[in-house]
Amino acid sequence: MQVSRSPVRKTVYILMLILLPILTMFVCLCIGRYFISVKDVFECLLSRANDGEGVNRLAYITVWNVRFPRLLLAFLVGAGLSCAGLIFQSLFQNPLATPDTLGVAGGASFGAVLSLLLGFSMILMQLISFAFGCIAVALTMLAAKGKSRSLNTIVLSGIMMGSLFSALVSLVKFSADSEQQLPSITYWLMGSLQSATYTSLLIGLIPILISVTVLLLLRWRLNLLLLSEEEVISTGTNIPTLRLTAILCATAATASSISMCGQVGWVGLIVPHMCRMMFGNDHRYLLPASISLGGSFLIIVDTLARSATAAEIPISILTAIIGAPFFLFLMRKKGGWAI
């Protein structure tokens, strides 16, 4: 709870945050329907320089060409979504504000589905998804703007926007060709990290990397988002610019994640909450913690999704099964964490 107070504990936590994703990645490289022993994974990793000579060829290809890009994708998507959730919570000073509840995810999905229907390229799909994510968050903010700045108004209007966009998604599905496009859209919507290759990673991860980096650089400033209006004014900060930057970064991270692997819900709610419970509200610790925990969380969930049963379970099903009870728990507990 009070991590920042003792320097020793702080160091321990920082070390844990660095080690956690590395360890998780390593363990998850072993796990799968084709199990690779720890020793083999080590050998595969070490023999990267000489292109896997003297190592089991099948293991080598599985580790480097199948599992590693997928784990990387899981890590970055998890980190991106967690950061986005964290930032939305701070922006709206609302523990329930996340990409999902604000309708950002819905908007971005609609953009992505529309691009799928029209057969656009990956880059264009990212841009359109981002644009609709921005439109959704803008509409939510407009709808919630009014005299009463109550905690629930923003979430309620977010849910309205979410259902509006999910209706639009249905409209796209309805008009899609039922032989080929519809199944691919439906399957994509449920979320999967199967698509991961190094090339798709390169295109899709640039927006996540950029926005997470910007947010990390702003980490101290972001604390100002939680101050009251009057207090912020008297710090002399250009708060509208800060808010806009934060919104754009969070939306870009969300849209980019969604256009790569569909709607992976709830990560942006659960992970920031766990981080806030551990680290308080200081973004200097919260952001790195969200990256580390969010990335590790999605790696674990994705490993479960691909290895629990013979056929791959769509990842959003698993995150929702974990996320929905957690959300209810938080709503009922209320006092557990407040901004």
């Binding site: 650089l217 702003l218 009251s228 207090e231 004014i233 710090t235 002399g236 900060t237 901004i339």
Partner: protein, 375 residues
């Protein structure tokens, strides 16, 4: 530092003026209290002065520049504003809270440097808060929280400190801690402007006061503004300003007595007329000449300069003066004789009594008219 409010008026959208034609000046070392009944717009006035709300007409001028033309960073490095304490985010530590006050000095993409953290700690130390540095604001008492917010305001090293009811909701001890801090800052040359519900705090602390009286704005030396007459008019309360004598000074105190009945029936009007007589009487004596003698003991040698500075402003009524150092105990004794309007004598006495480390008392000649009547 000089803040000039120039013929300013303010009204909310589609409403009539909350206050009209406000003009006053605050300079370094001034301590100005703003008083007024609930709903008279004290907070609004502060916000308008700072440019957070726009004036309907008129302007605020800070060191020859219109506040609305200044960049936020520049304005808030010269002025600090301490809003009312409730509503601050409680999850940050005291040290973090103070660092927020230095935002303009910390780069957009950076975190506070070691020197900046040390500076924030030195401010906390000055205000005797260093032991709280790692506590969360939500765990602080009301007084500690208010002091933390003052520490934050001081972190930007401002020339003017503006506070919204800094001592409301605090117990006696914390009120004194907060007000002592403000007085100390004032002596260091910081201008202080604050809202208060306590006329006696204005009387005891500030050299200038501003009273909001139903759209009318009274401004001037505190002793002239905080009078029984003005309190009756602004608050609708009959109050007595009494004096309590201690070993070192005579302390003014405002004692509210009763509501003033609105002038409806004949009964009301008669009480009002007697009131008026009384007021005329006091007004008369306030302007009539009196002989007085003030004795001052300074427990700090350096204060004598400040005392001389104040006395200089009252040369016209000063006719005798004797000052001597008492080196054995490092004290300085001053005796002055005055002949002038009671109003001026009171103002001089009031300004002297605001100095720390000064004991001061005033003795008036016997009121001869009263004496004759009794005979």
């Amino acid at each position: 530092m000089k803040l000039l409010i120039d013929h300013a008026s303010f009204h909310y959208k589609n409403q009539k003026d909350l206050f009209t034609d406000v003009s006053f000046t605050i300079q370094s070392g001034d301590m100005v209290s703003i008083l007024g009944p609930n709903g008279s717009g004290k907070t609004t006035l502060l916000r308008a002065i700072l440019g957070i709300l726009p004036w309907a007409c008129g302007r605020s001028i800070l060191d020859d520049e219109n506040i609305s033309d200044l960049s936020a960073a520049k304005l808030w490095s010269k002025i600090s504003y301490v809003p009312q304490a409730h509503g601050t985010a409680g999850s940050y530590t005291v040290l973090d809270s103070v660092l927020f006050g230095m935002t303009t000095k910390i780069g957009v993409f950076s975190v506070p440097s070691k020197e900046q953290i040390e500076y924030a700690c030195s401010i906390l130390e000055d205000l005797h808060l260093l032991h709280l540095r790692d506590r969360r604001c939500s765990e602080l008492s009301g007084g500690e929280l208010q002091m933390t917010l003052i520490a934050r305001a001081l972190a930007s090293d401002p020339g003017l400190l503006v506070l919204d009811e800094p001592e409301s909701n605090l117990d006696f001890k914390n009120q004194i801690i907060v007000l002592d801090t403000l007085s100390r800052l004032c002596q260091k040359g910081v201008g202080v402007l604050f809202n208060t519900h306590y006329p006696e705090h204005a009387l005891r602390r500030s050299n200038l006061s501003l009273l909001l009286d139903h759209g009318r704005v009274l401004y001037g030396p505190t002793a002239e503004i905080i009078t029984e007459e003005n309190i009756a008019s602004a608050f609708g309360v009959k109050a007595i300003i009494g004096e309590v004598e201690t070993n070192t000074s005579q302390i003014k105190n405002v004692i509210p007595i009763s509501l003033i009945a609105k002038s409806t029936g004949s009964e009301g009007s008669s009480s009002e007329s007697s009131e008026k007589n009384e007021q005329e009487h006091t007004a008369l004596s306030a302007n009539s000449g009196m002989l007085a003698s003030i004795s001052i003991i300074l427990s700090n040698f350096e204060e004598s300069e400040k005392v001389n500075g104040i006395l200089h402003d009252f040369n016209d009524i000063l006719f005798g003066r004797m000052g001597m150092p008492y080196r054995k105990r490092n004290l300085y004794l001053i005796n002055i004789n005055l002949d002038g309007p009671v109003r001026r004598i009171e103002e001089l006495y009031h300004r002297l009594s605001l100095l720390p480390d000064v004991s001061v008392k005033v003795t008036y000649e016997k009121d001869t008219t009263e004496w004759e009547e009794q005979k």
